[in-house]
């Protein structure tokens, strides 16, 4: 099949590649760029394990053709930590609050939470739950994911994190 040329910025780096027009963005990221953080969990854009940030929006990269991302600015989980290796506050928060277990949904979940906090710096619990409802987790029951996002939001805003009473 004839290949198309695409160029985009991924985690701050310019990439130029040739892809089959039907190549899904998730396969391009994972298999051509070797960014295996985003995962494939359902193929029907329900689970959100493949979530990446594309031009300031959360997208499910299993439902985007790579050619549609031509010219885009993409951030994956691999682009969350600082260049010196310091974890992003959300990455730290997920560990602190035990917001992950098997780790398979985690890259998509953190990437989604990152955009959520860009859109809403101080979300309520309800807003967080709605905001991550496109990302499924089979292990945690979400409670500690919600807590992790609250922890990160507090830390970003410079206020002390207070755990809600159960």
């Amino acid at each position: 099949m004839a290949k198309s040329q695409v160029s985009m910025t991924v985690n701050g780096k310019k990439v130029e590649e040739l892809v089959e027009p039907r190549t899904l963005l998730i396969h391009f990221l994972r298999e051509q760029l070797h960014l295996t953080g985003p995962h494939i969990g359902c193929d029907t854009s329900h689970c959100g394990a493949c979530t990446v940030d594309l031009d300031g929006k959360s997208v499910k990269s299993c439902t985007v053709f790579t050619v549609q991302a031509n010219g885009a600015d993409i951030r994956t989980i691999e682009g969350m930590a600082a260049a010196d290796g310091t974890l992003h506050v959300l990455q730290e928060a997920f560990r602190e609050m035990h917001g992950l277990q098997c780790g398979f949904c985690t890259p998509g979940m953190i990437t989604r939470a990152y955009r959520l906090l860009q859109e809403n710096k101080n979300p309520t619990e309800e807003e967080i739950r709605l905001g991550i409802s496109g990302n499924l987790c089979r292990c945690t029951g979400y409670q500690n994911i919600v807590k992790a996002i609250q922890y990160a939001a507090a830390k970003i805003s410079g206020v002390p994190f207070q755990e809600a009473a159960e």
């Binding site: 298999e31 995962h39 193929d43 691999e78 277990q101 780790g103 739950r129 029951g141 994911i145």
Partner: protein, 806 residues
């Protein structure tokens, strides 16, 4: 002693041993997207396999033409049953003593069954070509109803065994019959029912569901023809079992098979078994001489690998009029699909279903289970439960509520009257299980007090009155469940898989500088083993948990073990870890005695060191002893500091819990809101409370999914109608309730550290608790058993049937 020497308590805290909310070691890679899952593996020259699957539930396969598929550029080979026959692998044995087609041989017996395997240079080409395999089918009548499987005119599903009078588990009474299994004393149970003041009988159905971990089943097979060695990476909850089974069926010597389970994206029972995809990938690698990757998509996962439950349980309880249970009977029809690929201990075709007497002191009981074949996907795995324990817990907890309702007793009061009393432990159940420890009344009392149960009942009564007056269209339901699990399979006298006793293992090697590595036969799929096993070692050996690396999933390096499922890691491998530590500690004590020039018995253990009794300034820390083990051991002693333990547990462990749930049901829409869910768990000694709570949150969420919306459903033509996440309910953060978790601690007396296992408790106890809550909402209107799952449609229908919409 130096003034600055930290106290024992301070030193203990630094170790991050048992009881500490240690942050997880695994998370550092997972939060950065640096986990290593099977689909992340890429090998030079790797090919991709994909299946052509059957659109029919039951059909004869007349011809398979692979010409067009094989002609697609990039396709390397197409494998059918005929190819597999040349290596005697068209069929494979199942863990349950049955056989299963790897690829359709003569006919197909369930929808989406594997028919041909296409191997291509990339996954897109493989998928394209799989569509081009031309199969001519002749449709046959099908049956997907287990209750009709043994009818005189039922379709013959398994022609290969239709004339066999004996199955793997005894006599067969019909060509679609798999086994009959019984436990208990039928005569005594029947007598109890004859004498009973009150009896109830209800068909309690636990529908077919699927564990649905977020990562599907997948593998990479790489056969090295020169060395004759196979390396198989895969999503395996039980890597050693896969190696042994792989060797038995492929005839590759076991030492030339290297099975590696890297990070696993959730398992919940889905990844215990051996599937056609693994066999096909292995054969494909042998045929092509190149590595072959096979990755299930979600539809394939939900419709072909490892369903759970599908138990039809006609359950009866006998009681005195003042509420003492005197007897229990349960006749169950178990749907195993087209092949009995149940993942149970081999001698237990219905698993540990005889835990059905639950938490109650029931004097007489009998169960009988008939397994049957239908035109549905094969399996019968333990989805987040020890084998068939969740089915048993659902039946008894539902039935107890139905009896309480008939006796006009409060369900808590009725349970209190029948719970096994603390002084009865160790308690031998009527089925012969020896419950190790428990304090049930304390747990239930704590639950009832914490939620303000009496007040809730008063509120419910008021709401019911208001409903009758037409002032509200909402009903309040209060669900109570008290469960006892049987986990930690298991003692070799009870449990084996294909003849291999269900022990587990730990091998610990302490390095000269006082750090070390622990390798185990279990395999974490999210449970946090790398964190918690190190905590056991920290407490046992007095070395910081941070200095212990835990490694699982590599059959070349790990000692043999039976894997992680059935909440067996802590009860079995956790025990093995403690016992291996104790061997190391005993050697360290001898080295310490030699160095301190005292007798072994003159030393005592203090957190991280041996000290001389009565002279605590004279001591040797474990770190010092580790160094000494490599250069100044007593004369005649072997150098080094390591140990291995294979632990054959003396008994199962019996975690328990008391759960209470409050729901509000809108009778006009059928929608149910969970107002509160309180879970008290007793898993014995708690290794990491943070991880325990996380396990309980997750298990409750899976229970919520099962009780409120999950079902693998087939229409009468055998089409699976719930094979994607569009139709199969997985709760999102929005529907998922907030969990209130609590605990009591009753250690297991026979386990070296007293731990019982916890991962599955919330699923086992959660499902009946939700279901009891929804049923409780309608109970005052005379309804006894609304079937699961309690989705809006079924709940609305229940309300409709009760005439609530007139």
């Amino acid at each position: 002693m130096n003034e600055m020497t930290p106290t024992s308590a301070e030193r203990a805290e630094k170790l991050q041993g048992m009881g500490c909310k240690r942050k997880r070691v695994e998370d550092i890679r997972f939060v950065q997207g640096k986990g290593n899952y099977v689909d992340d593996i890429t090998l030079p020259g790797m090919l991709y396999g994909d299946f052509t699957r059957s659109p029919h539930a039951h059909a004869r396969v007349k011809t398979i033409d692979t010409t067009k598929a094989a002609a697609v550029p990039g396709v390397v080979a197409v494998i059918t049953a005929e190819t597999l026959k040349t290596v005697n692998l068209a069929w494979m044995p199942t863990l349950a003593g049955d056989v299963q087609m790897v690829l359709a041989d003569g006919k197909v017996v369930f929808q989406n069954q594997e028919v041909a395997f296409v191997i291509a240079e990339d996954r897109y080409t493989a998928a394209d070509a799989a569509e081009l395999v031309e199969v001519e089918y002749e449709a046959l009548p099908c049956n997907v109803d287990p209750l009709k499987a043994m009818a005189a005119n039922a379709p013959v599903i398994r022609e290969d065994v239709k004339d066999k009078k004996e199955g793997a588990h005894g006599p067969r009474k019909h060509y679609n019959h798999v086994f009959n299994w019984q436990a208990g004393d039928k005569v005594a149970a029947d007598a109890a029912f004859e004498k009973a003041d009150v009896t109830i009988k209800e068909m309690i159905v636990y529908p077919r569901v699927h564990p649905c971990p977020l990562e599907t089943c997948q593998c990479v097979a790489s056969f090295d023809k020169i060395r004759g060695e196979l390396t198989l990476w895969g999503t395996f909850q039980a890597p050693h079992v896969i190696r042994t089974v792989g060797s038995l069926i492929s005839k590759i010597p076991e030492h030339k098979i290297h099975v590696i389970a890297p990070d696993i994206g959730g398992g919940f029972g889905n990844k215990v078994g051996a599937y056609p995809g693994y066999i096909c990938a292995i054969v494909a690698s042998i045929v092509t001489g190149r590595p072959v990757k096979w990755v299930e998509d979600r539809i394939e996962n939900l419709s072909t690998t490892a369903f759970a439950r599908d138990f039809y349980m006609e359950t009866e309880i006998a009681a005195t009029k003042d509420g003492k249970v005197t007897g229990l009977r349960c006749y169950t029809v178990a749907d195993h699909g087209a092949f009995d690929a149940c993942a149970n201990a081999t001698k237990w075709p219905a698993g540990l279903f005889s835990i059905i007497s639950g938490s109650y002191d029931i004097p007489a009981a009998h169960v009988s289970v008939d397994g049957v074949y239908t035109n549905k996907a094969p399996g019968g795995v333990a989805y987040r439960c020890s084998f068939r324990v969740t089915e048993a817990a659902y039946a008894i907890e539902r039935a107890m509520d139905i009896m309480a309702q008939k006796l006009k007793m409060d369900p808590v009061e009725f349970r209190m009257k029948n719970l096994i009393r603390r002084e009865q432990f160790p308690y031998t159940s009527t089925f012969g299980w020896v419950y190790d420890s428990g304090d049930y009344h304390t747990a239930l009392n704590k639950a009832v007090e914490t939620v303000g149960y009496k007040k809730l009942r008063v509120e419910q009564k008021k709401q019911q009155e208001a409903f009758k007056r037409g002032e509200t269209r909402e009903l309040m339901g209060i669900g109570v469940a008290f469960f006892t699990e049987i986990v930690g399979a298991g003692p070799s006298r009870n449990c084996d898989i294909l003849g291999i006793a269900m022990f587990d293992s730990a091998e610990i090697r302490i390095h000269p500088t006082g750090s070390g590595i622990c390798r185990l036969g279990t395999k974490s799929q999210g449970q946090g083993h790398e964190t918690t096993y190190a905590q056991i070692i920290a407490t046992e050996l007095g070395l910081p948990a941070d200095n212990i690396m835990v490694e699982e999933g590599n059959t070349d390096t790990a000692p043999y073990g039976l894997g992680t499922y059935g909440s067996r890691s802590t009860p079995v491998s956790g025990a093995a870890t403690a016992m291996a530590c104790r061997k190391i500690k005993a050697k360290a004590q001898m080295i310490a005695a030699y160095m301190l020039e005292v007798h072994d018995d003159d030393l005592e253990w203090d957190v991280d060191r041996f000290r001389v009794k009565g002279n605590p300034e004279r001591f040797k820390t474990m770190t010092e002893l580790a160094w000494a083990a490599y250069h100044e051991v007593p004369p005649g002693m072997e150098p080094g500091l390591e140990a291995i333990n294979y632990y054959d547990p003396p008994n199962f462990t019996f975690p328990f819990g008391a759960y209470i749930c409050v729901v509000d049901v809108d009778v006009d829409t059928g929608s149910t809101k969970v107002r509160r869910f309180y879970a008290l768990d007793d898993c014995g000694t708690r290794i990491n409370p943070m991880i325990i709570e996380g396990q309980i949150h997750g298990g409750l969420t899976e229970a919520f999914g099962i009780a409120m919306g999950q079902e693998i459903h087939y229409d009468e033509d055998g089409n699976v109608t719930t094979a994607s996440l569009m139709d199969y309910f997985l709760p999102t953060a929005v529907e998922t309730p907030k969990w209130e978790v609590d605990f009591t601690t009753t250690p297991s007396p026979h386990h070296p550290i007293g731990a019982k296992g916890v991962g599955e408790s919330p699923n086992v106890g959660g499902v009946p608790c939700f279901s009891n809550a929804v049923n409780d909402a309608f109970g005052f209107l005379g309804s006894t058993n609304i079937p699961m799952p309690h989705d809006n449609w079924r709940t609305w229908t229940a309300a409709e049937n009760l005439g609530l919409h007139k």
